[in-house]
Symmetry: D2
Subunit: 327 residues, 4 copies
């Protein structure tokens, strides 16, 4: 059930790259992401806002587009070179998935495809670059977001997703399963050497559960909430600050943006690069070993639909979180 790692993948997908979200009111989203959380504005167009974290040299890791309703348009992944991009196209097509070249502003040659769970992917090897703002103290405000780290997707097709991504060279760092059940309920998959670039958790989907960005210290997890409250977004703090117990150790806070898209801010994660690193299994019964309040019901049930992607049928297995019990 748990696939062997693939150390010589068919092409080199390197990391979670960017996400494109449809939002109802760009000015309101700008107030949330830029004025409050502290994202850097790379470019601003009438219908689109390109944002990045303080340490990012890439043109964008978060793209907000004017839309009639809240939606996730694309999840972006990076490959290392243009040759790897050709390899990606071949890999997806060999799996019976449509893949087509497209042009996306500020990005190099770009592939549009979808993974077996139906997540609309946008894959490129390069972007325009801008100077990192990491030495610019005056650019540090709010939560001081440093960079995009990973995505989490809800899907009834956790196992299919695991196998498809593992064959692309993604390593399984940790996974959660019902006690006594082999099939995982949530899988944490990574290419860049920390626990996750993309996570699949069992639930109605495909839907984007959250995109996660790194912040410098515990202090910023609290301070960004203060800034949110001051700017009228106090109710947008959904869960935390608290800490994860799977995967690994990371202090986090989950926010809902003005359209309901969920953003995780968290501090740094552990490194996992070596071939002998084995996936860590967590039984659902172990997850109560943390502290504090459980996630609210919304954290389990609400997520962002992908544009034009229908909900999928899947196994009858219960959704992630359904068996968690209070501490």
């Amino acid at each position: 059930m748990i696939p062997k790692p693939v150390f010589r993948p068919p092409f080199n997908m390197t990391r979670a790259s960017h996400v494109v979200l449809g939002v109802a009111d760009l000015a309101r989203s700008r107030a949330f992401y830029v004025d409050t959380i502290g994202f850097v504005v790379t470019a601003e167009e009438p219908n689109r806002l390109y944002l990045r974290g303080l340490e990012e040299a890439c043109h964008h890791s978060l793209v907000l587009e004017a839309a009639s309703h809240a939606t996730c348009r694309r999840v972006g992944m990076r490959v290392l070179t243009d040759e790897d991009l050709d390899g990606a196209k071949a890999y997806f097509e060999a799996a019976g998935l449509q893949a087509r070249w497209t042009e996306v502003e500020h990005q190099g040659r770009t592939l549009h495809t979808a993974d077996p769970a139906g997540v609309p992917l946008e894959i490129c090897a390069t972007m325009e670059t801008r100077p990192r703002q990491i030495l610019v103290a005056s650019a540090f405000h709010g939560g001081c977001p440093q960079r995009l780290d990973h995505f989490q997707v809800l899907t009834p097709q956790v196992t299919e997703s695991l196998h498809f991504y593992a064959a692309m060279g993604f390593r399984l760092s940790e996974y959660i399963a019902m006690d006594g059940v082999e099939e995982p309920t949530a899988v944490f998959l990574q290419r860049k050497g920390n626990p996750h670039d993309i996570v699949f958790a069992r639930g109605e989907g495909p839907r984007l559960h959250h995109a996660a960005f790194v912040v410098p210290e515990t202090y910023h997890l609290m301070f960004v909430c203060d800034q949110l409250a001051e700017n009228g977004f106090g109710g947008n703090v959904e869960f935390g600050p608290n800490r994860h117990f799977a995967p690994g150790f990371a202090r986090f806070v989950y926010l809902r943006d003005p359209d309901g898209h969920r953003i995780e801010l968290f501090t740094t994660h552990y490194q996992t690069i070596d071939s002998e690193d084995e996936p860590v299994r967590w039984n659902v019964s172990q997850l109560g070993r943390g502290w504090g309040a459980r996630p609210p019901e919304s954290w389990f049930s609400q997520a962002t639909a992908f544009s034009g992607v229908a909900m999928r049928e899947g196994s009858d297995a219960p959704a992630f979180g359904q068996h968690l019990k209070p501490r």
Copy 2:
């Protein structure tokens, strides 16, 4: 309704001093307070554990006594000198409250009395001292509690308490009231120059809502929870980490000890010493301006009874928290 400050009080009460809690299992309480939260053990007796914070030179700020059930035996207050202690006795007796000298180990001459709300007070001018541990890095662990800061008491007699303490020289730093109502629902009273030494909030009482201790940084609010979880106390994190909006600005976490006594850990508070500092009024409707989850119901309803003190009748005004609405 709001009393004028008394700048020349009849005697000099200086600060919240210590609290004596009855606990069912001293070993279990030691595991919680010492091994997990990081209190310093000043002395350990078969039926009593004397604890203090890392920066405290006084012999104890937290005394745990073996008891058949969870109870608060005494709330300790300090006066500056023995002469002030005589002044205290005279003041309480003039108010028709019984006050008697008693001997308490490790303390100077000690007065036992009760305030108008029925809180059993233990007042002294001096204690034995021990070296502050503030330079001893190896003594810093868990939450690194620095010192006792204040108490919060639930009582139906908020207004009586306010007037009694104000006449002793306590300053009202902030208070909460129902919108359009003059009478306060919660009063924050202080002698030591930060917002509170003792707080009275409307509720069934008298009961001790919590004793609060200062920790160094935001980091410790999260880390102590990690340590609590590791030691089996993950479910004892009742509320937070979060931040207050009244009074002032303080990041906190509320814990329940193994007997259900509530402890607040929080970071530093603002200074308020000057004669022109006016009490800040907060309407209940303003308190939703913070962020994140509301306190759980237990935070409003549960508290520790004082040994041998009956619940009081009071005004029919609703308890604090009853009118707070979700964000």
Copy 3:
């Protein structure tokens, strides 16, 4: 040599209040204090800038005045009430020191006098107030200075200063002395319940060594330096971040402003209120127990002269720092 504490002082001086510095270029000082360190501007006049910390309700704790050369014009102290102000006048005059009423904008009735070391004092009971900015997250930037805490003065008259302030009710929290010598080299004197409102250290004087302001966390000690470097003030970081070992435990950084005035930013200090708290003595030989680099020579020798105050003759005892040895 070490005076007994005076628990019933002739009047109630409460705390270090404010400092008035002469600066050559107000715009440059504004760039340093406001844009970089993060002070709140209460009022701005053509020749004067009134600043305060984020938590301060008082109109000003730092006043910058246009001047032909760098100077300290006044060190401000607070008494509790106007009656205490009369008491202060009587006390200083009884000691043979001139004291006269003056009018200072934004302050209540104000007394100008000087202490025995020659420090020009400005004493008042009240100031205009402004809302504390402690709940205004968007006002937090740079070092996030919270409030003025204390002053340090260089003087050949340490012992005279100690006795004069002690008789006013100041408590000696800690002091430094040469090994085997009874007379102190530096005395830490306090009224507000933490280790110091004013410090006298042996040296050519009277001169203002520094004014100290509290910042929230260790993080801010580093971050403010980043902001200083970005704004062209990287060379103004004189010493630290490091930590004190006397008095007590406080992490600090010393900055020189554009005129060479020294500012200390530090995190919180311990509480010392009780009558039994004894002064802690440190021998010079013990001070090497800290870590990292020693202060640069400038930290020992350079300080701000007081306007129109001549240097004093004093004992031939060596200046503070002269006998400190490398670690």
Copy 4:
């Protein structure tokens, strides 16, 4: 002069792995690294101590061996698989460098070789693993070291090293050069996606300048120094806490262990994975843009010799640091 990146390297070297230091007194080194800094002991033998960081699953990242004098015996690097290890052997041999298989306890098949600068390398694909301690709050003490990050080597052969490592697939993240000179003075080379796994700086060598370990927050950089001072190692804090300006943004402190080996503790670094990331060039004249004290002379001149490796002749170019000027 600056080589093009090699995106399809001949084998997959993944990261800095471990370092083997010879120390004169294992008990004293244990007091420094374990009791004070907070490393986890994986195994302890009469003549050898195996240490790792809190988040590390690998058996060791720091090995201390009893030795007659301070020396660095090996710098360890990881490749992904055993097949990559064969590739490494072929690559070093093709470059005319001796490479031989050896057996090292707790490691898989291990290759001993040396790079063109003469650094003795120990390369393996796998190690025994132990549970990460990242969820064990009680294991967090002192500086809470998380994991090994990188090495810095002094050598007169910076350019040769750059080209040799670049051909192995190492990316040049940043480099320092004398103003107007093309040839670099210091090169930051990486495989794992942050700015460095190994750094070469011009100087008498080959010598190990330092090994660097990640700590969680700014707080720990200060706190570990407090713990060092308490344990008698206050003089071992050589430089900092301060922050880097090249490469990137990282807060650090440099320590000297009891044998004089230099350890850097620092907070997290930026991510650099993408093919379009260009090396950042810093002119020596720009490095004064930071803040605070310059490194002491020892930081530039002192380093650890490698066991049995002679000093090399190199270009006559001046050593790194020689042209840095005070701020």
